[in-house]
Subunit: 199 residues, 2 copies
């Protein structure tokens, strides 16, 4: 018996979070117990509120407390470009650039036969529904160049090409600030393939 | 507006935990939202339960859901040795060894004038109260060899010596499995000072 029961349970629960091992869970638990009541209540209520209020947008399948979500209902977004991503965090990453002004569609995963995830587990039906909007002229696939990402891109390109919409994919190549000498072979191959005429 | 409000709040709350920056907080939040309702409810209730049920033992100032705590009320512990530590996590570390069979006293901190922590902020009054128990023959100081630890050890030794109890301190030296060549100077000095006759 190392810990009192409620403390043991808290440490156990914290350990179920990703990237938190026994040592971090213990450290977090002791830290939490040292805080004011209000701190712990606020943390607990933020968990419950987020879980109960955040849903998937019925249109773009992104996480939001409203439906349609803030991005889908923002009249200032360009309705002619739709950017398809795997996860909500990818939307955040793209929004941080401030460059993309169109709308999104979140697949909520990638095709991964090893994990038992096929196209039917992804938000592809919802994507086809979004594409019935004739305002959409271009679909940008912003999907990671991993095995699962490639499989999903291949599947989507076969599915979407017959629709006749312009289908593009974000560029892969040397990251800005990196050094050609230290780039891996696959990145260099992609950078060569993606070369563009200098104007 | 990157996140929906309840999601933004959850990320903010998670960021207030030690060692969790903006990226980890975002990753944790997205992970939590992907889990079942029961997972989130259980995590939230474990936080609230631990915070409301765990208190300081009135005798040893360790964290516990009962008072006196499990260790203080365990009749099988040796009442003649009292081990003084700074934090509850130190009790856990010592209990893990399975070697120490006595009782504990948790100071709940160390003297640190820079952080405004003096002896009166620590559980020293409670320590003196424990020491009124005439069964205690030895007090072991198991306190880190840091500046704050040394200051606290000095303070406690001056305070406790007049009581006439045997006052000892855990040994500092080369950790087991380490290499003399790579040990820092202070550790070597402590290891030399703490040398013992080979029998």
């Amino acid at each position: 018996m190392l810990y009192s029961k409620p403390l043991a349970r808290l440490i156990e629960e914290l350990q179920r979070l990703p990237g938190i091992g026994p040592k971090s869970a213990q450290r977090l638990a002791f830290h939490i117990l040292k805080q004011e009541d209000a701190f712990v209540k606020s943390l607990a209520s933020s968990l419950l509120d987020a879980k109960s209020q955040i849903r998937l947008c019925s249109r773009c399948a992104n996480l939001s407390a409203q439906d349609p979500c803030e991005l889908c209902s923002d009249e200032k977004r360009d309705p002619s470009v739709l950017c398809v991503v795997a996860e909500p965090r990818d939307v955040i990453a793209l929004e941080r650039t401030g460059e993309f002004k169109g709308r999104y569609h979140v697949l909520q995963g990638l095709i991964s036969p090893l994990d038992g995830i096929g196209p039917e587990q992804l938000k592809i039906k919802e994507l086809l529904l979004q594409l019935q909007d004739s305002a959409i002229k271009e679909v940008i696939l912003a999907i990671n160049p991993t095995i699962e990402g490639e499989a999903t891109t291949l599947y989507l390109s076969r599915l979407l090409k017959p629709i006749g919409v312009l289908l593009t994919r974000i560029a892969f190549g040397l990251p800005i600030g990196s050094d050609l000498e230290f780039a891996d072979e696959l990145t260099l191959i992609r950078a060569l393939e993606g070369r563009r005429e200098v104007r």
